[in-house]
Every structure is written in C-alpha cells, then in structure tokens.
Symmetry: C2
Subunit: 372 residues, 2 copies
C-alpha cells in the first residue's frame, strides 16, 4: 500500500467520483439516472424515486469537542433530506449505519439517534433500517435517504438555459462562520481552566446554521404553490461557487452572479469582520448552507420577485462567456470550484495518526480571487 | 465523553439496534416494514422494494494485510445482494460511500471499485450513487442496496411454523476457516524475511469462501423454478446459531437441528483438524457463509429432497421446546446466539489506538457447548 501513484487529493472529491464511476452503463429499466446529481433517479411501478447517500466521519466532517451528539444526528439526517428536496422530491425513508468505538456508550448513541429521530419526525421521514458496528477510530455515520418525486417534475442539474434567472434561498456563509466561531472558542477554551464558558451572545444564528441546519422543504412547497418548476436545482452543501459550476457544467452554459445580490445575514458579516475574513469568499465557498440554488425561466421573474426568502443573484449565459462573479465595482472574477472539499479541507482536527490530507488547506481567507 | 454508562458491548449489535430503534412508528404509506429483517420493505406504485445497508470498517470487518482490494470490493457488494436474496427479492441498485485516508491512492480505490463493479456486472445490479471522502483512519465502505420483490412473495423472518423443515444451502464454516488460515499465515509471514510465500494448496475453497463469497441467487431461482416459497428466510452472515435464533424469536417458535445434518465441506473439516478447533462450533458460529437459511412446509419435503445444494437440517417446534442442536449421541444442546459479533469479536487486528472492543472475544474454540 506504500507505493504512491496518484494522490486522491490531486483529483478532489468530484474528480475522483468521475474517475471511479465513468463508463458505468445502467442495465436495469428501473435505473433512470445514476451518479452525477444530488440523488439517483429510479423508477418503480410508474413512481419516480430518489436515492442519496452520505458518509460522515469523525475528524473529517465533524468534531465532537464542540458538536453535541443530538445535533450531529439531526444534521446527518437533514443533509440527506436536503439532497432529495434539491431534486424537487420528498424524502420518505432513511437507513442509518453507525460505527462507534468503545469510548461511546449506549447512552451516547441514544443521543445521536434521538437527533436522527427528531429530524425524521419533523420532516415526516421513516427510519426503516439500521446497522451498527464497532469502529477502531471514533464515530462513522452513513445515511441513505429514499425519496419520492412527482413524475415529470424531478429537477436535475442539467436543465439551466441561457437567460434563466439564478436564485438562491435564505442566506449564505453563516454555517461556515459558525464553524469558525466554534473552532476559535474551542482553542480559546483549551487555554483556560475547566469551567470556561464561551460567549455566544449575538451569534446564535450562525451557530444554529452550523450545528442544526434545516432542509428547505418550505421553499420546495413555496415554489410548488406558486406554480414554479425550476429548470435546474442543487442544494448548497459545498459552497455557492462549486454548486454553480456544477450546474453550468452539467447544463453546458455559463453564468454571471452579482456580489451585491448574494444574500448574507448580518451575524455572518459581523463574524467575518471580527475574524478579519473576506465575507464574500466565505459566502461563495463556505458551504454547509443547505440552501437551494436553482434556475427559473426569465418569464418567472415577476413570480419569484414576490416570494419571500428567495434572492435572484444572477443569470445564465452562453457557455463561451464562462462563469463569473461580478464585483461591486463591475469587475468580473472567474468562479473557482474551491468549495468545501472534504479531501483537502477537513473541518476538524485529526484525532489519530493516520491523516495527512490537509496539506493543501484552502482557507477561504487565503483566496485572493474575491478580495476587494 | 469519558463518563461511561452502558457499554455497547454489554448489549451486543442486535440488542443495541433494538434499543435504538424501539418504538419507531412508520408514518409513510410507502414504508411497509422497518428495522428487524435482512432488508426493509417499501411499497411504491404497487411494487415492493427492499432496502438494506451495510457499513464495513477497516480493522473491524476486514484486514488489508491479507484481503486484496478488488476482492474486498466484490465482497462488500455481494453481502448486500445476499440480504436482498434472503428476502426472496432481486437486487437492482446500489449506492457506495467510501472514506479513504491519504495512504490510499486513486489506483487503490480503482481496484476496490473494480471489484464492486464486477459484482454488479455478474449480478445485474446498477451502481447509481457514490460518495467519497477523506478518512482519518483507514478505509470505510458503506453500501446500500435496493431490490425488487414480487408482490406477496417477499419472505421475512417471522413466518416459520411448527413442523416446518429447516433448510440451508451449500455448506457452513468454510469462510470462518478461511479467515483462520489467513490470520495464521499472516502471523507466520510476519516472522519471516520478505518473499515468504504461504502455502494455500488444498485450501483454495475455504480461502475463496472468505475472500470472494457469492450470494445465492441460484438458490432463489431454484426454489422459484420448483414452486417452493419459503415460510421464513435469512442469509447466514453471523452464523447458523444466531440466524436460527432470530427466525425462531421472530416467528415465536422453537427448533431442533441435527449435528450430523449440518453441511460441511471437507476442506473446512481438514482445516479445523489442523488448527485443533471444534468443527461444529465453527460451522454453527463462524459466520460470513452467506448461505440461505430457510424454512418450508413439511409438505415440501419431497420437492426439497430432489434439489441439489440444499440440506434439510432439522424442523420447527412449539416455542416451549426452545432451540437446540441434537448431537450425534442424541444430547440436546441449547443454541446460543454467539455468532460473529462485530462489537466483541473483530476479525482483524487494530491499526490505531482507539480500540478496546475485543476484550470479550468469544473464540469459537473456547465454546464448550458443542464440544463432543
């Protein structure tokens, strides 16, 4: 195993998946669309199903020094529901695989499960399968979600067309700033005696966005109620830049988005100021927002304008124009897929020795593309 | 996290899952059966679907010192297919989640994937979703399989009735003996200079059973072609004893099986002799056989008798008679669910510090219940 050939980090998560799954031919009639979107599309008995899977590993995706187990369970389930909503579907079932080392007790796992079950209750999803096993190194969570789509109304990444409006729900960058805050308080606490209480006053929103995100079921319903079917859609898990590039690549188009249209909460802005980080970079690349990014025909402009909680941030162009962010002073900055890449930017600190994947950590504050 | 309450190992895998998932109410019409069988049962558009998930962790479920990555990929997929066949269904799609530390290269993951893809090709299953991420500690594989059942013909664990015949396909204990052989050769090799070649002559079968098991699609087809619908069925992943107890508990019945009817290959027997291990114990508790254990009405006796590759090993009794193995000398030995328990008997050696789950390792050779 020591003979290094191609390092995984040289391809990145998406390049790796492309390489591992290229040339796959689907042989079953029930397999409609495989790897390459938020969820696979199956068809059984005339119903369209969506299937998505996520693997969450301690020390890579979460850090138990500051993430309560119940919150972790909730978030693990919700991020899967988000993938199903991002296909314009409704999540119905999940299966849960848990690997836990001996430092976890039954009560710890009950805490974790209580979060998963709460998310299921709130979103009307059934937990139908579970697998638990020992782990040699911390906590491993694997969740697969099955959802249902309305025939002909599933929305994929590849339907964006020139002149379509680019929309995003809620606001961006808050979850990333919440993570920065937690990491800072954690390192401050490490330098104090026991009993140190971090001060989170005025920062509740960004903390909640990091620790207990919600999937935008409400936005899917809002669009449906207003007769709007997006031409393409994704959820913002890796960061707006990365997701927009996915949509543009899959749809064979370009895009322009406007810096001053990117929705950012004031707590996010304050935290960026406090930490001396570039706000737009955080909003563009922070990730874990779980907002919906989608495109609609230009003709839906008036309808979208009336809807609360949705921002129009730009439009789709011909492919030859490329993908760019238009800054406040009118400069066009090419979008880069730097996003939140689990292969090169683990969100947490290693808790054992088998790790050296963070050698190329792209801290958004180091990125000069969006510096103003 | 240090405040120990209930140790996970005190409940075991099945006790833990029971505790974590008790009282779950299913709210969606499409959720027909949740946790508690080889796979969950869903119904969409009049079709019955099966969903099963497995988490495989390095150092717990496999040891890369003697398992080639391609074999590991193959086995990871096949064990999931086996769960779907065990419900009398046909596997159709899988999603694959992989976590890999930086000691793995792209080529390593291609090897792993080539095994997964080979299994998919052979069994006619589509790989429709993938997730890859960094891991802090070795390799994590999570596979979810979706299968299809014929309406009214899905077979669960709870249908065994008094006087039913207990049947098992193929032979038992070989995979466990293959593992013992690999572990022995590995420790012998560790004491030699480089270039040591273990001698596996005459042991090919037990090695293949461990490294490249197959799911018994052929048996499902054989039963179908002969008009036999089992009353209950499971695959033998944790060991015959453990699976039989599951069936009896779920069905509310007891059972008698006969030591001299348990199918054992001669290579398995030779290896047990060579290692001075109790053969019946290995066959009863070794696990990873991926054979099908099922019950049929007594009236099917003549039909079953004619089928190659299926052994009748006993019969279902009233519950008050309990579950027992009848030894060659006529003694009744109560069955115990010791099986292959990933929480207390990891098959491989730890490769990092966060591990102490093997404190209560029930080596089958220590078990006196089945000593003759």
């Amino acid at each position: 195993m020591e003979n290094m050939e191609t390092e995984i980090s040289s391809l990145g998560e998406f390049g790796l998946i492309d390489r591992l799954t290229r040339d796959i031919r689907l042989v079953n009639d029930s397999s409609r669309k495989g790897v390459g979107d938020d969820a696979a599309i199956l068809e059984y008995g005339g119903k369209e199903l969506l299937v998505t899977t996520d693997l969450l590993l301690e020390g890579v995706h979460f850090d138990l020094r500051y993430v309560p187990l119940k919150h972790l369970g909730y978030k693990s389930a919700v991020v899967n529901f988000s993938d199903v909503y991002a296909m314009n579907g409704t999540p119905r079932q999940i299966t849960v695989g848990i690997g836990a080392s001996s430092r976890f007790t039954v009560e710890h796992l009950e805490e974790l499960y209580s979060g998963i079950r709460l998310a299921c209750e709130i979103y009307g999803v059934d937990l139908v399968g579970g697998d638990t096993c020992a782990s040699r190194s911390g906590l491993v969570i694997s969740i697969t979600c099955i959802g249902e789509g309305e025939k002909g109304k599933i929305v994929t990444r590849d339907g964006a067309r020139e002149t379509d409006l680019i929309c995003v729900s809620g606001d961006l960058g808050a979850a990333y700033m919440g993570l920065q805050l937690l990491e800072r308080e954690n390192s401050v606490a490490a330098g104090h005696k026991e009993g140190f209480q971090p001060d989170f006053a005025g920062k509740e929103y960004i903390l909640e966005r990091q620790l207990k995100p919600e999937a935008r079921k409400d936005i899917i319903e809002l669009l449906r109620d207003n007769g709007i079917v997006p031409t393409s859609m994704m959820d913002v898990s890796d960061g707006l830049s990365s997701e927009l590039l996915h949509i543009c690549k899959a749809s064979g188009v370009g895009c322009r988005i406007y810096e001053d249209k990117i929705p950012i909460d004031y707590q996010t802005a304050c935290m960026a100021e406090e930490l001396n980080m570039n706000l737009v970079t955080a909003a563009m690349n922070g990730g874990e927002d779980y907002e919906l990014l989608f495109t609609v025909p230009l003709a839906d402009h008036a309808k979208i304008e009336k809807l609360k909680g949705i921002s129009m941030i730009g439009y789709i162009t011909k492919p030859e124009l490329g993908c760019a962010l238009v800054s406040r002073d009118g400069a066009e900055l090419p979008l880069r897929a730097q996003g939140w890449n689990a292969f090169i930017n683990p969100s947490a600190t290693p808790d054992n020795s088998d790790s050296s994947d963070n050698s190329d950590n792209p801290d958004p504050s180091d990125n000069s593309d969006y510096q103003r």
